[in-house]
Amino acid sequence: MIMPDAARPETPAPSPVPAPGPSDAERDELRRHGILLTSIHELANWGRSHSVWPLQFGLACCAIEMIAASMARFDIARFGSEVFRPSPRQADLLIVSGTVTKKMAPQVIRLWNQMPEPKYCIAMGACAISGGPFKQGYNVLKGIDRFIPVDVYIPGCPPRPEALLHGLMELQDQIRAGRTAASRPTVKAAQASGDYPVPDFGPEDLEPPANPAIWQPPALVRPDKP
């Protein structure tokens, strides 16, 4: 059993200060009467969520599905994400679409470092999530979340374009709710220290093989012995 991120012991969040404004239920009630209450923050998130520009960056067969998702049949433009940018400086979203080999991993992290904030990451396909069928091999990174905070994981080998669209809609929900990976305390701390460290090539593996600030190996919990 893998302990979810939230269950890990972390520094307790500061006690929530009661919001001065109306609650969500009250605002929904007001909206029904034609009165829209919002904040600049919410407006900005709403805008961000509808113009997520992905980086034009493909790694393996998942990239073919990503390209299909951008074409007319699936049409990622319906969600405001049709502008695939060739430069990381202009991109908001890194879709890690495919197998990340250990040789490629430093370049992926460098691209991530070059993207301006706010930025989001989708791990697309079994390889980007965990190494997939190549997990037990010697040359494939066992998941990009070792080095980059991932917002949405899309399983599949490869995932259908619909799955990518669903993942994008999930990301939009997260952006609107302000629940992206960047809001996790561990990621906040890692981001505050600057760039994400780019690993070096070692004689057998990357050095270090993971960024301990944002990723810890899964803790094995036996259900019969808590």
Binding site: K102, Q136, P203, E204, P218, L220
Partner: protein, 216 residues
């Protein structure tokens, strides 16, 4: 196109010093390969490319094979007459011999000009440890360049005369040659939800068997 036997006979006549042998192929295709010695490999390759009959101007594939050291048990039977007049006894004698290992490069050659092929060319190294240098055939067929780099990367065969011999797939700092049979990959096992086969063996090594209920 000439059969491999005919090509072998012509090569033997043209290069009397070279050792050219036929390696039979038991597969249904039955395409026998020409095994040439490393010292004459490039000469023979040039000949195969320039010969007007063959004109093998395209190398479609170059790959490596690792043949580890193999123990071969040979059984010899001898009959021994019984001095008492009974039926003769059969005695089996087993002898073991070690067939030394070697690395091999296989080239698949076609002719664009003559529209025939393939002719399969094999070159073997002396052993798997220190005599692993072979002549590069990149000067003969340009398409061998990346494939010989890949063989160098994954099998550790050094190609003499290669214009740019670097690792192709793994990074430069990487040590080891992963496609060799005796390559031991780094042990970076992680928890798996449904381990099986080799992964199960790894899982057993990393996690001791759980204590059985009721045992003290």
């Amino acid at each position: 196109m000439e059969t491999p036997e005919q090509i072998q006979a012509r090569l033997a006549a043209r290069f009397p010093a070279a050792a050219v042998t036929l390696v039979p192929n038991p597969a249904p295709a039955g395409m026998a390969a020409l095994l040439v010695d490393a010292a004459h490999a490039r000469q023979i390759a040039f000949f195969l490319r320039e010969d007007p009959e063959l004109k093998l101007d395209y190398c479609s594939n170059a790959t490596g094979i690792d043949w580890p050291e193999k123990e071969i048990v040979e059984t010899t039977r001898s009959t021994l007459a019984d001095p008492a007049g009974g039926p003769p006894r059969t005695i089996e004698q087993k002898t073991k011999r070690i067939q030394p290992g070697y690395l091999e490069v296989v080239y698949h050659l076609y002719s664009m000009a003559r529209k025939h092929g393939p002719v399969i060319l094999r070159v073997r190294t002396g052993n798997r440890t220190d005599q692993v240098t072979l002549p590069s055939l990149t000067p003969v067929w340009r398409s061998c360049e990346f494939q010989e780099r890949e063989i160098y990367d994954l099998f550790g065969i050094t190609f003499e005369g290669h214009p740019d011999l670097r690792r192709l797939l793994m990074w430069d700092e990487f040590t080891g040659h992963p496609m060799r049979k005796d390559y031991v990959e780094p042990d970076d096992y992680e928890w798996e939800p449904t381990p099986h086969e080799e992964v199960l063996e790894k899982a057993k090594r990393h996690y001791a068997a759980p204590e059985k209920e009721g045992t003290p």
